[in-house]
């Protein structure tokens, strides 16, 4: 079945890991649909499978069964190369740690997706993206000189700069102080509309800013 919708559609998704001799079921027959252009929050306890879900959506990991479809592409039906291309062109990613390449300046980090996609007007678009996260003045600095919040906002700038149809963010405010967290949240907030945003978070404040919230519990997803 080929999904044609721009929504992120998850059908009968299952994933388990072998842990020693014990088979740990993380996701069990999950079905969900994340509407295009909206911001979605995924919450749940530690170990409930939030990150696994993101890994499967991003094509970083493959499900045991079921499908994930993004902008009409069935992720699990693609080969490794195609999944890489999909990530490069259609998805923006924000990690909790290790977000930026230490040896590149802020601007160069943001420019990377444009360069990888071979897109034109890179400098201009990089500056626009940095301006959107309010860090235009820091473009020539190296990540090590930035605060955690600033780094995370640079990561968001990088995730949105090539206008992906989907942005995946894993605990973007996880280790930020309140002020920084607020800035990050509002930056993500502004990105919705042109992209679908899926945020995994523990932060109630962030979750509440989202258009939709769902909870992962015992390998099942519950929409709120």
């Amino acid at each position: 079945m080929v999904e044609t919708s721009q929504n992120v559609v998850i059908r009968a998704l299952s994933k388990s890991y072998l842990e020693g001799d014990h088979n740990h079921v993380v996701l069990n027959d999950v079905n969900a649909e994340f509407d295009a252009g909206l911001m979605h929050a995924v919450t749940g306890r530690s170990g409930s499978g939030k990150s696994t879900l993101l890994n499967l959506i991003a094509g970083i990991d493959l499900p045991d069964s079921g499908t994930v479809s993004i902008a009409g592409h069935d992720v699990s039906g693609l080969n490794e190369r195609q999944r890489t291309l999909l990530r490069r062109q259609k998805i923006g990613i924000v990690f909790q740690f290790f977000n930026l390449i230490e040896s590149l300046t802020v601007a160069e980090n943001v420019m990377l997706p444009l360069e990888l996609n071979g897109e034109p007007d890179r400098s201009q678009r990089t500056n626009e993206a940095l301006d959107r996260v309010g860090l235009g003045n820091l473009s020539q600095r190296f990540p090590a000189g930035l605060s955690g919040g600033e780094q995370q906002r640079v990561a968001i700038a990088r995730a949105i700069v090539h206008k992906p149809s989907l942005i995946l963010a894993d605990e973007p405010t996880g280790n930020l102080d309140d002020d920084s967290a607020k800035q990050v949240i509002s930056t993500l907030d502004e990105s919705r509309g042109e992209s679908t945003v899926i945020v995994v978070t523990h932060s109630m404040e962030l979750a509440e800013r989202c258009d939709q919230q769902c909870v992962l519990r015992s390998g099942q997803i519950e929409m709120r």
């Binding site: 890489t84 420019m111 997706p113 897109e119």
Partner: protein, 852 residues
Amino acid sequence: MTNSACCGPGKLKCANLSLKTVLLAWVREVVRAPLQSTLSVLGVALGVTAVVAVNITNHSARESFLAASNALAESATHSIAGQPSDQLYRELRLKTKYPIQPIVQGRVRLSDINDSSATVYGIDPIAYYRFNIGSNATPSSSEEINQLMAEAFSTFATADSLDQLDVKLGDSIKLRYGRKNHELRITGLIETSTPLQEQSFRLLFLTDIATAQTILGMRGQLSSIQLQLPPGDIVLQEIEDLLPQGTHLEGRLNRQHSLTSITDAFQTNLTAMSLLALLVAIFLIYNTMAFLVMRRRPTIEILRALGFSRSGITLCLTLEAAAIGLAASITGILIGSQLAKLLLVLVERSINNLYFPIEADITILTPTVIFLAVCLGIGSTILAALPALREAQNLMPSFGTEFRHLPSSARKRVFVFLISCSGFVGVGVLLMRLYPTSIALGFVSINLIVIGYFCLVPLLSQALGRVFRVVSKQIFGLRGVLSSRALSMSGGRSSIAICALCVAISATVGVGVMISSFRTAVDDWLSDRLRADVYVSTQDYGGQLSGIEINRLRMIRGVESVGVAKWDWLQGPDGRSRIFAVDYGERAFDGYRFKVNAADVWNRFQGGGVIISEPYAWKRKLSLGDTVEFFRDDAVIEMPVVGVFYDYSSDRGVVVIHRDVYVSNFNDYEITTAALFGDPGTNKQTLEHEANQAITSPGVTVWTAGGMHGAAMEIFDQTFAITAVLRSLAVIVAIIAVVSILAMIQIDRGRELRIQKAVGFTSREIWTSASIEAGVMGMIAGVLSLPVGLLLSWLLIWVVNQRSYGWTMQMLIDGTILIEAVLLAIIAALLAGIVPAWWLANRAPKQDLQAE
């Protein structure tokens, strides 16, 4: 990267990948971590250095050997003995095209100097020059040598001889042959370049043939005719067909061959050592690349998250590996060629005194060496990077950390190690079985077997590490656990460090045990064999001791008995054999130590049986009960083998026949060697002196048994001094390798150490725990290297020595060698561990943690 395969279905674009920014990131990371980059380059460079140095040394030494083999004494391949005539020489000149030269030599007495004996050595300067091209010991120039012709009774001698006679160039010396007195005017100098040459030219007067014939009363007669013949029986036949009765062709193999076997032994040693260095280098290169991937891990993961392809990552890493390889090649070639110089000086020093001069400054960076270095540097870096590249390709960013999967289960890993181990050992043993005589394949199989063992080292070290962890937890508590953590990490870098150290240490054990076994065997063999007090033997072929001389020897006061013997060659259906027809009596016969022997061997030997040396038995596949066959005129003489004895004097082997048996079968009464057995308590030096006086034949040397034993052991020690040097080189390379590997481990664990510091460990405590860890690694490496070292020495003894020389010997395990090995490993690892530990321990924790 623009091929259609990369285009996804439908809407996924296929973009031209620009690497500009990615490469920029890469270059900056290299520049930002100069220490790490230097270590990477150094790691590979060391491997290249070792190979380059050994290769240059090998090459230079080989060139020297080649040059030296053209030197004076080594030019002749054959000689015609039995007083050939002028006419035979003329006939050979006209009928054959091979270089030949006439020699007229004899012993004369120096009237002015106590009637001491000297040698007159007559040559044809023109034939001599052609014969001895490139010769080292010659009169200074060809034009000068022609002067021998220009003046009757002119002679050349060495400067040392002139000193000894207290005369100078232009002076005359008086000499006496028989009843005739002559005077020779010294018109030129013989230049020698080694002590050995100096020795052989001592009190030797080089003249032209005419002068020598005149002095020695040998008109129309030559002492010998030397020939340079190409290999082949047809050539020998061609010459032999021209020989009249009474003259015979003799191979010069004895002397030349001893040179070749020394060369072979030397090359064998060098090759073995460079292979070990290479093995260490490979560990280094692999480790370097694995480390490189580890350092790039965050960057690689982010890039993968952003959709950077696997092939892009591979390309970046390959480029970096190539750059490291190139830098390392250049560094390696530079350091290696310097190291080679040093090495060659050492090699030269040990060879020079004994054999022939080699020049240390002929270290040449040949295109071959450069090619080899660059191949090894770049090629092997990239090749060794392949496993790391595969690892890198599978690197994926991941959301969260909860369920990061392991690459493979520990059980599977054990299985793989065991499989590879048995695979290597199996192929090695198989090769050894299939090709029991090939030296090269012998080496390959040794390497395979050793590599096979090294496949077990990670498992063994892991097991030992676990034991240590339990023990140290009991003793040191949590700190103990910390310092043993790296050891118990399965298949971690510590295993590689242990492996590298293990290779080097096992080499020292292997070579050490081999040499000490060999030395003991040779020493025992000499003590057993040299039963007489003084030996008198002709040096050159064609020479013999006369009956009068033997009688004079018998007359010497204090001589109980004189045994006589002849060295010769006999032709048989299987080719020529060196034979020793001896009658030294039963007492001396007891000096033969038999590998196998018939009952009552002495009586059977006297009754017509022969005993053969071990190499002879090995090369001709003979044993007790077989027969050896030799031609006499048209008949074939068969003699049963009644014993196989240990012998290290020649790798061609020898057949020992009782002289009475030899004489009755071959009707040859010649004597080339006499052994003097003194009465108990006789002074050997006096005997030696008296024997010297009794001898009038040219080219005869007189040795005491002790002197001969000492000289032989000296040659042995000098030969293996080179091995010792190379062995220490391998250890030094290994230590540096371990330093770099441990440094990488420490850097790798930098974060962990910083956390330790943050929670309150003092620098000293971290330093101590790192040192304990290094020491334990050294100990594990030392212990693990013992079995493989012994295995290696066993293989060297049974495979290499037997295959190269046909020699076997008892393997003697010297405990000190083993203890030294373990200590060496521990010290090496401590040295290697302390530097990086100290460096990390003294860094401030704050800045590091902040950067996370």
